[in-house]
């Protein structure tokens, strides 16, 4: 095993790659006495960071609310670089896909942008009559002190629709998780609990932290329907704002992306007494466990029986369909460099394909995230925090995984090294959640790992 050799060769305290002194503690190899990497620290200035800003964090949490407009109060760049970044699908409205901006100019910086913001909100409401308008603060609107809360309140009185301020000034923190929380706060303060539940059943739930990227939600929803669980709202994938407004009436919150949304579930528990359970629909076993956990929560004999039926038929289908992929993938190695949640939740899913996770890292992980990663991966696995693009390249070169799972910015770093890549972020092309999702997942991983093009990358012209 390559990793173990490396572990043997080098004393553990020494850095695994050449990097800045202060960054060396941010990567480690899991072993008996090794704990977790240093994390949740400010980004080193001057590096090519893979992290983003607080505004970005808030935007990706709220953007999947499809009947709403998302208005960026700032210079044009904040809108024009982010308006289509989330691959969240919609089964109904497409309003959320519009890139709206107040396009702050020099004059607004000098005299304040509140007036322009107000006029823009009124105009957008007239143009589209949206479910709500979410108004995002940016670095500059924050620095010049525009009171977006006051403007939102005033425009809400005039328009009669929800105008939700999101205090997401980009510079607030080096960790975009803060942005996720700010997005959740906007929902807690201005949306959830503002409408009474239209009809109740004993089995009402919210799916929290599921953003319907590539249609993930649609792989899960039918399973719940069959179980007899009633989904009041998903927060926020493929949702309408009116549905989220009724979320306080649920009996249970199930949390898929725990990184962004545990915060929301905890707050809802405090405020409305709604308990929550953590679920994970990436991978077969995890899907099964998640379904059983929900059925157990409702403690309903019939539901449990139905759930077992669903599991049985799902399992049957999956095992048969992934056989071919598994054959080719068994024994291959994977490196994960992803958002907090997936760094541990994907480890088991890869094991189910016969693959071996040899590195796992996140850009914005906190201590508890790394604890979970450490508990999930096997000894010898590299755990890395906030790797910049140079470090990532060095790690890939050193450990030569058969696959990197990451996002758009990392894609070509990996491919230029001849290392197959699979997007598990906003840009992925298929839904990966649930039983059917797992089949797509296996297929896509196979398409990367087993493609013959990667056999060519090391060949030289005059070799033959």
């Amino acid at each position: 095993m390559r990793i173990l050799e490396v572990l043997h060769m080098e004393p553990k305290i020494e850095s695994i790659i050449d990097t800045f002194e202060s960054r060396k503690k941010h990567m480690c190899i899991k072993g008996d006495d090794i704990s977790i990497p240093d994390c949740n620290k400010a980004t080193l200035p001057g590096t090519v960071t893979q992290r983003t800003c607080v505004f970005g964090g808030a935007r990706i949490v709220l953007m999947p609310i499809t009947d709403s407009l998302h208005l960026i109060h700032g210079p044009i760049g904040c809108a024009s670089c982010t308006w289509d970044i989330r691959g969240s699908k919609s089964s109904r409205s497409n309003l959320y896909k519009k890139g709206c901006s107040t396009d702050m100019g020099e004059k607004d910086i000098i005299f304040g942008g509140e007036r322009k913001l107000f006029e823009t909100i009124i105009e957008l409401n007239k143009l589209y009559n949206p479910g709500a308008i979410f108004v995002y603060a940016t670095c500059v609107s924050g620095v010049i002190g525009d009171d977006i809360k006051a403007v939102c309140k005033k425009s809400e009185e005039i328009t009669g629709i929800r105008i939700v301020p999101v205090q997401s000034e980009g510079f607030q923190d080096y960790n975009k998780t803060k942005g996720h929380w700010i997005g959740c706060d906007a929902l807690l303060d201005y949306v959830i609990g503002t409408k009474e539940l239209e009809k109740t059943t004993p089995y009402d739930i919210n799916i929290v932290g599921e953003f319907n990227v590539a249609g993930d939600l649609w792989g899960i929803k039918p399973l719940f329907k069959e179980m007899g669980v009633n989904i009041i709202s998903t927060i926020t994938g493929d949702s309408y704002v009116d549905e989220i407004a009724q979320a306080h009436g649920a009996k249970l919150n199930i949390v898929q992306c725990q990184k962004s949304s545990n915060y929301l579930a905890d707050k809802m528990e405090k405020k409305y007494g709604i308990p929550s359970i953590k679920v994970n629909f990436f991978g077969i076993k995890q899907t099964i466990n998640s379904l059983r956990d929900v059925a157990d929560f409702f403690d309903d004999e019939e539901m449990m029986e139905r759930t077992e039926e669903i599991i049985k038929s799902g399992l049957n289908d999956v095992e048969h369909k992934i056989e071919e992929y598994k054959e080719r993938l068994t024994g291959k190695t994977v490196a994960l460099y992803v958002g907090g949640n997936k760094a541990w939740s994907l480890v088991r899913a890869f094991e189910e394909l016969g693959m071996d996770v040899i590195m796992s890292g996140t850009k914005n992980g906190m201590k508890e995230d790394y604890e979970r990663i450490k508990d999930t991966v096997r000894d010898g696995t590299v755990i890395v925090d906030d790797a910049n693009s140079n470090e990532l390249a060095l790690l890939l070169k050193k450990y030569q995984p058969n696959l990197l799972i990451s996002g758009a910015k990392e894609k070509y770093i990996s491919l230029k090294l001849g290392i197959p890549f699979c997007d598990f972020n906003h840009d992925r092309i298929s839904a990966f959640a649930g039983f059917n999702g797992f089949i797509s997942f296996a297929k896509e991983v196979d398409a990367s790992v087993s493609s013959p093009v990667f056999d060519l990358t090391s060949k030289k012209l005059m070799e033959q």
Partner: protein
């Protein structure tokens, strides 16, 4: 339905200044672009650039946070310069500002001076501050300001070099290659500002991950003061040319973008104003092939109504080109407010007998509504036009930035005679695909009604 829109921008057709700066800087050898601002600026721009070029894109950030915003960004900028110098030691660090650091009033030049003073005796990269406030102008000004700053800081008069400076503007690596090939055939030595042709269309190799090995060198930028003249392919990127003329008497010519036959002819005659170039037979042949392609295609293109959106020089260049081909440019949209753009379009319209709708400082909302009022047969622009094209059931010919829903954006070429041939063939084939059947007959009104897709836009507006 209420359509008139005064305040909001909906689906922008422009980006901010730092984006234009980065686009210019990616064509320079051994250079690190550093954005002095929040992390999101560099990360989201890298996201846009990387999905367009399908290359790793390296842009460093000073990663400002709440504390540094309150006390000023000096600490972070100094630290960033130190880290870059120590770890990567590039030849040049180009520091661009952002809306945040401009608003809090960071004196980048002063901070850089401080860094240099503190490191006297050490070998430092050249460090250039570039002011690119995101709240003023657009990526067009960002590109222009960047080339100007580079030339302003670096150009040094010495001996005449007999070269011609070419300011490329925000064009694809394939276009840069085409212009370079044209210059080589003319036996014209040049300095390309900036040359992204290798960096942003790199072979599969590890070396693409390090500092760029190719591109315009610092020495070349220094030497721009000694050239015979400057030609800016884009009129909106000519400030450096104007500066060189004023400061060193290096004559400057602005545009037009060499797209199509007439404009490429003009480019070559502009070059000939600076020196006596002999046009070789190979160029005459390429020119003849472009004419041949246009003649072959003419019947499919005649009076096809076209809407074009993108950067101002791209739109005016393509307006001239498509009207040469016999098409009818009908709606022209750019995100930038520009007198020169309006003048250009008016001039072309007069010459060609056109009467297009001009949307300057427009967005894709405006463009879409105009298309509904004045239907067109084809749309030319970046990937953001795809949803409009789908809803209106017209084809989109992808050119410009960003293109993320098709492969090969770095290899789209429309400039010069060869780029022109590509364009004529490809747009005509697109028209054949959409408006003609498999036997080559034009699809009749009756047939096309059956296949009309009803768009989401239509539902939403009702």
């Amino acid at each position: 339905m209420y359509h008139d829109k005064k305040f909001s921008v909906i689906n922008p057709s422009k980006m901010c200044q730092p984006m234009g700066a980065i686009q210019a800087l990616l064509g320079i050898k051994d250079t690190i672009p550093l954005i002095h601002g929040s992390q999101g600026c560099s990360t989201y721009m890298r996201f846009q650039l990387t999905r367009h070029f399908r290359e790793p894109i390296e842009v460093a950030s000073t990663s400002m946070n709440e504390k540094t915003v309150i006390y000023g960004g000096e600490f972070n900028l100094l630290k960033a310069l130190k880290n870059i110098t120590e770890k990567q030691s590039p030849s040049l660090i180009a520091v661009t500002s952002s809306c945040l650091t401009e608003t809090i009033g960071d004196d980048m030049a002063g901070i850089i001076k401080k860094f240099e003073d503190a490191n006297i005796g050490k070998e430092l990269p050249i460090i250039i501050p570039i002011s690119t406030p995101s709240y003023a102008g657009t990526h067009i000004e960002g590109y222009d300001n960047t080339i100007k700053a580079l030339v302003e800081y670096l150009s040094t008069p010495s001996r005449a070099n007999g070269k011609i400076n070419i300011i490329i503007g925000n064009n694809s690596p394939a276009d840069v290659k085409e212009i370079k090939a044209l210059l080589t055939e003319l036996n014209c030595e040049s300095i390309i500002l900036t040359d992204n042709s290798e960096n942003l269309d790199a072979p599969l190799s590890e070396s693409a991950l390090n500092l760029y090995n190719e591109g315009t060198t610092i020495e070349e930028i220094k030497d721009t003061a000694n050239s015979l003249g400057t030609i800016s392919l884009s009129k909106h990127a000519d400030s450096a040319g104007v500066l060189l003329e004023k400061k060193f008497g290096v004559k400057s010519i602005s545009g037009p973008l060499p797209a199509g036959l007439e404009n490429t002819d003009r480019f070559i005659s502009s070059l000939c104003k600076f020196d006596e170039f002999e046009v070789p037979e190979s160029i005459e042949k390429d020119r003849g092939r472009l004419m041949d392609a246009m003649v072959d295609a003419h019947s499919y293109n005649y009076r096809r109504k076209v809407a074009i959106f993108g950067d101002p020089d791209f739109v005016s260049g393509m307006t001239n080109f498509t009207s040469e081909m016999g098409m009818t440019p009908t709606i022209l949209c750019t995100g930038v407010e520009s007198k020169r753009f309006n003048e250009d379009i008016n001039l072309i319209s007069e010459k060609k007998g056109l009467n297009p709708t001009i949307l300057a400082s427009g967005d894709l909302y405006d463009l879409h509504h105009k298309i509904k009022e004045k239907p067109v047969d084809i749309l030319i622009g970046n990937s953001y036009g795809a949803s409009i094209a789908q809803e209106e059931n017209i084809p989109l010919f992808r050119a410009g930035f960003p293109i993320f829903d098709r492969l090969g954006a770095q290899r789209i070429s429309v400039l010069g005679y060869n780029g022109g041939i590509n364009f004529v063939d490809e747009i005509t084939n697109t028209i054949l695909d959409y408006y003609y059947d498999e036997a080559g007959y034009e699809i009749t009104e009756e047939e096309s009604h059956e296949s009309t897709r009803s768009g989401l836009f239509a539902e939403e507006e009702v």
